[in-house]
Amino acid sequence: MNQQLTTQRNFDSMRKSLNTLGSSVSAIILALSICAVLLLVTGKDPFAAYSKILETGLTGEKLLEMLKRATPLIFSAIAVAIGFKMNLFNIGVEGQYLFAALIAAEMATHVSLPRPLHILFILVVAMVSGAAWASIAAFLKIARGVNEVISTIMLNYIALSFIQWLFESFFRDDSDGGLNVKTTKIAPSGRMPDLVHDRLNGMFIVALIVAFLYWIVVFRSRFGFRLRASGLNPIAARTAGIPANRMVLIALMLSGAVAGLIAMPAVIGDVYGYGPSAIATQFGFAGISVALLGRNHPLGIIGAALLFGFLDSTSAVLQLSGIPSSIVKVIQAIIVLVVVIVNEASSRRYNRRTAERAAADLKSQEVPQ
């Protein structure tokens, strides 16, 4: 009986995972079909485009690029997902990571430490800076009830101008000459070693570690339970003694801390500093898509980040073969839209099935009154 029950439970959890995976995969296929129609309408051959994507994307070089491009997306999506798990929409990841990038790059030049410590120092500074910027939105929410969607969006604009002012007034280092002005170059002791020379650096491993920690903290720990409970039913959580305000503060700061790592693959792995044109933007928004596609689950997020990284890595080649590279962005956007719709439909169906199965189980079990 016990054995049977355990098997039954394993089935249940497997069914749920399969359901999730199945709906995501079918959403991707549906999205690709919609894009194919779009391509056809614009007079391009969708099969040529897709086979080009596969052909170029599946080479060793491009696969490394996929991993590289996935790295900041993993950080970004986890930052967003921490908020999502508590029903907080941190749209401010963009501002948080750019702010963190500048502060970390600058602070890195003011200390001299041996290699592993120097790197660690920079990562910690980045996380603290990201958390600090995110905490502004948290305080506004706690003290004045300002909706975090609005405050984080607004804080993005403030961050951009603030960063520009800080950089131009204090941190800019023109000694290098040239057009790409940056902060002072970070000493070799603060540079992240490469995994594959010039193609992929160690931040990819850090991203996997952060994804694992995210799973442990949010899905397995007591704190994570309180976080999720606050998201599932804030009033019930509060009634059960979970301090709502403190949870908002901690969740947003954690989210900001992870956001702080987004630019690190570039800051300590590529650019060795911060420069307005050297550090890529928009990762904060891409993270929302990746988190949605990955359904806030660490494995889902890694998978989604890899998919986006894969598509991104092929866009340059597409351009060369006469297919507009923006089709990649279109595919990504459609995938996210379709996933949201398909997820909603499939979770409704899943809930209905679960309820029906529970009723059927109960009937066969003959529970005594």
Binding site: R9, A240, G241, A359
Partner: protein
């Protein structure tokens, strides 16, 4: 009763005497019990009651009639014509109106606006409020309701809001009115008023389906009573032929549990007390004003009152959810400045008013729900101890008889009564010193109600103090050692349950004494 439904469904004609005829309705429905072969005939211009325990299938049946669900088999005939409703709007078009247990009114719109909402009469595309007002006035007069149509809903009492709901449904042309537990929120005097209105409605030719589990009311208002148990119709009887006990036995299918008299004594130690407790209303009257009471060890103090007279805010104040003046003491120690967590750690437990709003995470599994509030004891270091949490949930399921296949299913698959048992179990499992039980048995069936009462009594005998907030006077009278009546934020009376009656309580609750 063998009311040959198969036969009658063959003899349906346009001139059928039955306004509503459900024949052999079956439905495998997400939930715990489905409908099995239900047949029901409702005669024109009568009040037909449907009684049964919660989870017996009453709501499912009504949702099928209202087009919210489609039956797997069986037929619905309205005025003798077999119909299929794919949505509530089709049911409304066929003259069926539903008044839900939870009112669906817009607080900041006026009575008139609420009534015509979605069915606004227009002239040349322009809203014509004058016509609407005239029609609503006529409707209201015809059933003896006197309402100021220009008041915003937020200024109305519960009874009046219900009248607005009824008018809203009638305005849409309903000739068949489904009332889902209409008296659950009313005091006895309001119930009488409602019944007067309903009788007028019936005299005007409206047919009423009255869903309830309050047997006295059912017996006094209905022309016919259909009893449903575990998804099937047990019997259709005339109220003249049965008494309360007989009806209850039909519902439960066995002898009723009796009200046990307490054999233990009330203790001498004060476990929960307030002194001049006031909850400040931000831009309105203070919802709780100057409330002082003491509850002793092993004592149940009932708070009777019409919903919205400060009971909810009082509970929030005791828990530490709102700012207060005055003091709260738990176990003899001042708790006024403590956080919710600290108060819970002092031995306070809370069965909330609304299990969906304040109690459960519906999308989460049962074990996660029973873990809520007990994370600290069910952890190893900073990590949740999954095995211990699941085991603790299984214990609650066994002890409180929660009907569920296992502890892994999400909470939304349980019926209301079973959800409530889980919430009650979660709070009693840790043997708290003080229990605040707000409507501990609202909307749950007789069997589950008896089980919850029994558990509360058992914990009381073991020394637990209980503050019982309830609008169900039978519950307050049956469980309490002392009764406080709350009216308009203040304690208006202290009564002895041995000498109090629902009528006396009702007078204090409405402030007429």
């Amino acid at each position: 009763m063998q009311s040959g439904s198969a036969k009658s469904s063959q003899t349906l004609s346009a001139e059928s005497a039955h306004v509503v005829e459900l024949a052999n309705i079956s439905k495998s429905f997400p939930g715990v019990i489905a409908n099995r072969d239900i047949s029901l005939q409702v005669a024109r211009a009568t009040i037909h009651a449907i009684v049964g325990e919660n989870g017996a299938g009453k709501s499912t049946l009504m949702k099928i009639l209202y087009g919210l669900h489609q039956p797997d088999s069986g037929t619905i005939a309205i005025n003798g014509v077999i119909t299929q409703f794919k949505s509530p709007s089709e049911a409304i078009a066929a003259g069926i109106g539903m008044v839900h247990q939870h009112f669906m009114l817009a607080d900041n719109l006026t009575v008139l606006e609420n009534i015509i909402l979605g069915y606004e009469p227009t002239k040349y595309g322009v809203l014509s409020l004058g016509d609407a007002r005239k029609r609503v006035k006529e409707l209201a007069t015809s059933i003896g309701v006197d309402l100021n149509l220009d008041l915003p809903i937020s200024e109305l009492g519960v009874g009046q809001r219900q009248r607005v709901e009824i008018l809203k449904v009638l305005f849409r042309g309903a000739e068949i009115l489904v009332l889902d537990e209409p008296t659950a929120v009313l005091v006895p005097q309001e119930v009488d008023e409602l019944f007067t209105n309903l009788r007028k409605l019936v005299a005007n030719g409206t047919t009423i389906l009255f869903i309830s589990h309050k047997l006295d009311e059912v017996l006094s208002i209905s022309d016919q009573i259909t009893v449903i148990r575990q998804g099937s119709t047990v019997s259709t009887v005339s109220p003249k032929m049965v008494d309360r006990l007989k009806l209850a036995e039909l519902m439960v299918g066995s002898d009723l549990p009796s009200h046990g008299k307490r054999t233990t004594l009330v203790g001498e130690k004060i476990q929960l007390s307030t002194n001049k407790l006031t909850v400040l209303g931000k831009d309105r009257k203070n919802p709780v004003e100057n409330v002082s009471f003491k509850i002793f060890e092993s004592e149940i103090v009932g708070i009777a009152g019409v919903d919205g007279n400060g009971q909810f805010e009082l509970c929030e104040a005791l828990l530490g959810l709102v700012d207060i003046e005055g003091t709260v003491e738990i176990g003899g120690k001042d708790a006024s400045k403590l956080s919710i967590r600290e108060r819970l750690d002092q031995g306070l437990a809370y069965i909330p008013f609304d299990r969906h709003r304040e109690g459960l995470m519906l999308a989460a599994s049962l074990w996660e729900n029973s873990l809520l509030g007990h994370e600290t004891s069910l952890s190893r270091g900073p990590m949740i101890d999954f095995d211990a949490a699941k085991k603790s949930c299984r214990e609650i399921i066994d002890r409180f008889g929660v009907m569920t296949p296992n502890e892994l299913v999400p909470a939304f698959v349980l019926s209301g009564g079973n959800q409530q048992k889980l919430v009650v179990g979660r709070n009693l499992a840790t043997a708290p010193k003080v229990l605040i039980a707000a409507h501990p048995t609202r909307g749950i069936d007789v069997g589950a109600q008896a089980a919850v009462w029994e558990e509360i009594r058992r914990s009381r005998d073991a020394g637990m103090s209980v503050l019982l907030v309830s609008a169900d006077l039978e519950e307050v009278l049956g469980l309490s050692d002392r009764i406080l009546v709350m009216f308009d934020g203040e304690i208006s009376a202290e009564l002895d349950p041995k000498s109090a009656t629902p009528q006396i309580l009702g007078k204090y609750m409405t402030g007429t004494q």
